[in-house]
Amino acid sequence: MVESDTKADGPVAELFRRHRPDLLRLAVLLLGDRAMAEDVVQDAFVALHKKWPTLTDPDSAAGYLRVSVVNGARSAHRRRTTVWRHLKAGEPEALPAADADVLLAEEHRTVLTAVRRLPRRQREVLVLRYWAGLSEAEIADTLAVSRGTVKTCASRALTKLADLLGGPDGH
């Protein structure tokens, strides 16, 4: 272990204790897979630990972790899609349901099933907006897109969801 690692231990440990639960939930919401979500979150903390000596603003660490998790979830999703293609199984229409879905009420399962049928970026925007509670600007930073793109994605996602769930407002 080098000295910089030792210096990172305390702050990263505190971030781990404070943010891991919500980051894990975020990854599960994005991926629908607990095991992959754990890997993504662990990778994010490993990356932060390595980056710590060059991190100019420690206050940005939480945002860095969130971006890492979103990017990691994208990579994991791409890897999974690649495997499906190599197996010639065809890409499924939507992400698989999270194991936890069986614990949910029918109403929530219906909504989540519809969400999984949306394009990846639209899902990301919805999760960051309606679960993480981020502002448009924060979502734009996290996804590295413009605020206009966030707005458009959200609008299209809600329109599509309403259609999938049957009715002008999802009924």
Partner: protein, 162 residues
């Protein structure tokens, strides 16, 4: 003003998120990759332990150049035993207490440098007791007992879970 659809979305996400068990589980993935994370998580415990260690190790008598302590430590801080999560993921071998590195007098290493049988993984919750500034003993509810001694001059773990 949120629409009903937005409310349904929010409730569904919250419901799914609430089913995610965020407790650390036993890990069977490659250890090298996880070691920094475990080490970082352990630091939470180590920092707390360090505070206890710092105030419990014997201090020299105040001399001409040694300022007396500003205030006595609180009763809880003077305890020589404290809750401790011992990293077992690659075997029971080392412990960092405060800023001091200890090594087990008799390391217990599981198969292929893993946690020994009968120990929780990646950590074993228990109690670390400082017997002296240079020796400590870890005990847990399973009856495990491992004695540690200071590794003089150490500034890092011998092995980073590898």
């Amino acid at each position: 003003m949120d629409t009903e659809l937005e409310d349904r979305l929010r409730r569904a996400f919250t419901a799914l998120a609430s089913t995610v068990d965020t407790e650390m589980t036993a890990v069977t993935r490659p250890r090298r990759r996880l070691a920094p994370v475990f080490a970082a998580a352990a630091a939470v415990v180590l920092v707390a332990a360090g505070v206890v260690f710092a105030v419990t190790r014997p201090t020299p008598e105040p001399g001409p150049g040694t300022p007396a302590p500003a205030a006595p430590p609180s009763p809880s801080a003077t305890a020589r035993s404290f809750s401790f999560d011992l990293l077992t993921h690659c075997g029971v071998d080392e412990a960092k207490i405060g800023d001091t590195y200890f090594e087990a007098e008799q390391p217990i290493i599981g198969p292929a440098a893993s946690a020994p049988s009968g120990w929780d993984n990646p950590y074993q919750r228990g109690t670390m007791t400082l017997l002296s500034p240079d020796t400590a003993v870890f005990r847990d509810d399973h009856g495990h007992e491992v004695r540690f001694r200071v590794r003089p001059g150490a500034t890092a773990f011998k092995n980073l879970c590898d």
